[in-house]
Symmetry: C2
Subunit: 229 residues, 2 copies
DNA sequence: ATCAATAACTGATAAATGTCATATTTTTAG
DNA sequence: CTAAAAATATGACATTTATCAGTTATTGAT
């Protein structure tokens, strides 16, 4: 199921769209497509990356291990996003681990073709820069949320985020199902605390659950909660 | 005291060093030098920036107001750093406020010369990209610290950070003096909590104080505390 | 130098969150 | 399908952190 980058729709959503025909050809010739099973790593914190990963399908969590042994999820990367750019550009080993949250299909693009284009094609470089500027802004927002909002607010926000970014299935559950542990690692709290708050939300009729799946029942109240009522 | 960017030492520390002679000339001709008094703003959250600020002297805090009315300081920018790049590049209004922590001298560079160079000089763009990649990594670290470390650990870390990045004066106090409120806004806690922990550190002989000035007395123990003992 | 304003500090208490222990449910492997 | 493993759930309690109320110290303007 090998296909050409030139024809890849995914590309429209990331910085590769700023590449020239020839550059894209080179990328396409050097790339390899990989399937990664749910729970398997794309790479681990500290690895030297020889390229970047372009997500064709599935979701990856980017996380960092803290001193107390807990993972903090910093970002969820989905279809169209490029993972690993930061460390390739900074020429450092990666500061984050990437793990498949569900079955994934990714293209691995060796760093040479990326770096070469970064030096030659300012449109591409600027496009990458714009994406990184966006990520930085989001990171700033996360910092503020982490330090100024309660766990309850952060969990409510996480559910809204999941709805807005990954949507819902036919039955009205969030399309991306995270384990309670992953949820707690996104909001930065103990798993038990997250579970407790989920139970509370359920009792109050803000959400409904079925197994590990969660559906939003009263979006408005969740929003109010996030804003601080 | 107007001087030319071409001769500015500060430039060596930021992305402007990747500019060509002519580009630098254009920047130098269009820039203006400003003095900003301690406590005064460079810009406020939501402002549209018409350029970037290059810090020649002094320190600026970059902060974001949270829903509960507290400021969260996201970064301290010092000599050599360029402020406001992110929003100029993303062509958005700024997500942060910048305020002078002490008397500052900055150069304001209109965005036109920056943007023009971003489109024409890939070396410059890549250099800016590298700086932003660095900022993003630091932001990731802050997220992990905020969510996984106790207030005590974060305060200890803040003192070590201040020592490593701004040094100490002749009397052994941290060269950059922040108010207790600013300290609490850096680590994301209530001012009273920060004060309490500072008192505790003092009692335990980790630091010494004189007015609002703080000096590190037992760096090793502070480091141990941060790592979690 | 003096006084008003601001910042730093302390105590008491409430609220939020983490930890540990254990029960229950769901998922997975064979 | 079933047993074992893993994940979810809940209770009791400890710890951390915030809030409110008030005092003391420092700073800045006249």
């Amino acid at each position: 199921m090998e296909s050409r980058c030139e024809n890849c729709i995914i590309r429209q959503f990331n910085s590769l769209r700023a590449m020239s025909k020839e550059e894209l050809k080179k990328v396409s010739d050097s790339k390899t497509t990989k399937k990664i099973k749910k729970g398997d790593p794309l790479f681990e914190e500290g690895d030297k990356l020889n390229g970047v990963y372009c997500v064709r399908d599935g979701v990856s969590k980017l996380s960092k291990l803290s001193a107390n042994g807990k993972d903090q999820i910093v970002k969820l990367a989905t279809k169209g996003e490029v993972i690993g750019q930061r460390s390739v550009i900074a020429e450092e080993s990666t500061n984050l681990s990437a793990t498949a949250v569900n079955d994934m299909e990714v293209c691995f693009i060796p760093k040479e073709s990326i770096i070469h284009t970064l030096h030659k094609n300012p449109d591409f470089t600027l496009e990458v820069l714009r994406h990184m500027a966006h990520d930085l802004k989001e990171a700033d927002d996360v910092i503020v949320n982490m330090s100024q909002k309660t766990v309850k607010q952060r969990i409510a926000e996480a559910f809204l985020y999941l709805k807005n970014n990954f949507g819902e299935d036919e039955e009205g559950f969030l399309a991306l199902t995270l384990s309670r542990e992953d949820i707690s690692n996104v909001v930065g709290t103990a798993t038990e605390s997250a579970i407790r708050i989920i139970s509370e939300f359920k009792k109050k009729g803000l959400i409904h659950t079925s197994g590990k799946r969660i559906g939003i029942k009263n979006e408005r109240k969740l929003v109010e909660l996030v804003e601080g009522f």
